[in-house]
């Protein structure tokens, strides 16, 4: 059973559609990155998953509990770290964490040990007596993380867990996530691609309230190096004329993983050609050159699939990634 199941989730703030029917699943024990530019709907989704916001429509199940029916049961299984780490400034770190532990139902006997463990993991033990009001942003973030760990919830939902950290601390957080992934399902949001590549096994990419890509990082990486082309061409009068000739020839080529004819309109054929993993971009050029040399008339060559970077570049309005 999946740890998170999101089905056709919509969220509207007044006239603004923040989420437009997103669906995805996160399997138990998998560290998943939730990737998207600022304003894509990441925090909204996480807030709905954590039970802070209600959805306009759609279904969300966390650890098998439907959020609209059994929010408390779901909440007991979630360690949620909000984006801004809101904390009570008048409390000391250990006072705050003890309060949170009690709130989360950690028994009195275990509370001290549990708070101690969370402080050790997030490296705030030496600041435990400090007032939260006096903490730097990085430390506040760590207290928020320690809070999420209290009570060892099976699911951790972390909203931008590395924002506000310096590079050393980011490395520490990554190490921590690595330690935690054995016992927890982790779902973390970020707008930094390298973050996902460094830590996550799976990723869900969201843009303007819609899921635009999801899958394992390896899958997404493979899609980055290969590509899918849509070829529109005419074989009449060429060496490729005749049933199956072009298909056989394409399938024989080393650079091509898969080829299928998706449409025929009179003599004009449309082919979907998937390039194999690790193929250079120049494979497209030589493919076209060879087809032309065999007398095939080419009307159009269009790239279809998008890489993770390209998806992300499109989303963020950046310019990196190939066309």
């Amino acid at each position: 059973m999946a740890m998170i199941e999101v089905e056709d989730l919509w969220k509207r703030y007044g006239p603004v559609q923040a989420l437009r029917g997103i669906s995805f699943e996160v399997e138990r024990g998998v560290l998943t990155g939730f990737l998207g530019p600022n304003g894509a709907g990441k925090s909204t989704t996480l807030r709905i998953l954590a039970g802070f916001l209600g959805a306009s429509s759609g279904r969300v199940r966390v650890a098998g509990y439907d959020l609209s029916v059994e929010r408390l049961e779901a909440a007991r299984r979630i360690g949620y770290m909000p984006e801004t780490s809101p904390l009570y400034p008048e409390m000391r770190i250990d006072e705050y964490l003890r309060f949170r532990a009690e709130l989360k139902g950690v028994s009195r006997a275990n509370r001290t040990a549990e708070v101690g463990r969370a402080c050790e993991l997030t490296r705030i033990t030496n600041r435990r007596r400090m007032l939260i009001r006096h903490l730097s942003k990085g430390y506040r973030q760590r207290v928020g993380l320690a809070d999420a760990l209290l009570g060892r919830p099976p699911l951790l939902i972390l909203d931008e867990p590395t924002v506000g950290f310096d590079p050393n601390q980011i490395q520490q957080v990554r190490t921590l996530l690595d330690d935690l992934r054995d016992d927890h399902t982790i779902f973390l949001s970020t707008h930094i691609l390298s973050e996902v590549e460094a830590t996550c096994e799976q990723a869900v990419v969201i843009h303007e309230g819609e899921v635009v890509a999801s899958g394992s990082i390896d899958e997404l990486r493979r899609r980055k190096r290969s590509g899918v082309l849509r070829l529109t061409l005419r074989c009449a009068g060429s060496k490729m004329h005749g049933d199956g000739a072009l298909g056989a020839w394409l399938a024989d080529r080393e650079a091509i993983a898969e080829a299928e004819r998706v449409d025929v309109d009179d003599e004009l054929e449309t082919w979907r050609v998937a390039l194999g993993p690790g193929v250079e971009d120049t494979a497209t050029e030589s493919l076209v050159a060879d087809l032309v040399a065999r007398g095939v008339a080419i009307r159009a060559v269009e790239p279809v699939a998008v890489s993770l970077e390209q998806v992300f570049a499109d989303l963020t309005g950046g310019t990196q990634g190939e066309a």
Binding site: G54, A75, Y80, P86, Y88, F99, G144
Partner: protein, 249 residues
């Protein structure tokens, strides 16, 4: 009601570790001390004592000094309950913990009620002083404190509600102060309106009449039902308001 105790404890912590509770209690006791002094000096020079017009009756039932601090200090006690959590964003951590909404509301409400009781506690000294000077009817004192508790609990419930309905502490305080002062003034209508249903209504909600009755030992259950309504309805609205936040931002 999961989460009720930790929330109650944390609210009390926040009230007493910041100056708020101490400022409110000090202000209250200063005014009531002055009030008590005036009452006592009045009786020190007056030789006549009616059967139901002793210093306790005067203190609890017949001067405006009793209400002034309540009307102004109750909103101050309740203003930060929800407004501050929403402004600072801590409400997100609170509502994503496995706590039920009624537990959040009652935990917070009971915390300010405890401060309210703590604020009245030292006034028992006045009772002791009066008792030392002559005979004192314990039932009258008990009725007076019951009324003070019932009225204050209603004011605090109204304050809790306005704190949940606004994001700023200041507007929460102002709206709740205006509401309970309006209720108070409505009660004054008993003395200015001509005979009729409007006058009856005003008499029914009049906190002034209530305190006057209770301070003479007349415990009218209709008054207590009204007080209970003024406690329950705002708290119910508060629970619904907090639930409604989940549907907006």
């Amino acid at each position: 009601m999961s989460g009720f105790w930790p929330i109650l404890k944390r609210e009390l912590f926040a009230l007493f570790v910041t100056p708020l509770a101490w400022v409110v209690i000090t202000g209250f006791l200063f005014i009531q001390g002055l009030h008590f002094y005036l009452v006592m000096s009045h009786y020190a020079v007056s030789m006549e004592l009616g059967a139901d017009a002793g210093p306790m009756q005067l203190f609890f039932g017949q001067t405006v000094f009793l209400y002034l601090p309540l009307l102004l200090l109750c909103p101050v006690l309740t203003m930060r309950l929800f407004a501050e959590e929403r402004r600072s964003g801590t409400i997100e951590s609170l509502l994503t913990a496995p706590v039920s909404t009624p537990a959040v509301v009652f935990g917070k409400y009971l915390a300010v009620l405890v401060v309210y009781l703590a604020m009245w506690l030292p006034t028992l000294l006045y009772v002791k002083i009066v008792a030392g000077a002559g005979h004192l009817d314990g039932r009258v004192v008990a009725a007076s404190y019951l009324a003070v508790l019932a009225v204050g609990a209603g004011y605090l419930a109204i304050g809790t509600m306005t704190s949940a309905l606004t994001k700023s502490q200041l507007s929460a305080a102002i709206i709740s102060a205006v509401t309970i002062i309006a209720l108070f003034i409505l009660g004054v209508g008993e003395y200015v309106l001509p005979e009729g249903s409007a006058k009856d209504l005003c008499a029914y909600v009049s906190v002034w009449s209530q305190m006057n009755d209770f301070s003479r030992g007349i415990v009218d259950s209709r008054r207590l039902w009204l007080d209970l309504t003024i406690i329950v309805v705002p708290l119910f609205v508060t629970v619904r308001a907090v639930e409604a936040w989940r549907q907006e931002l």
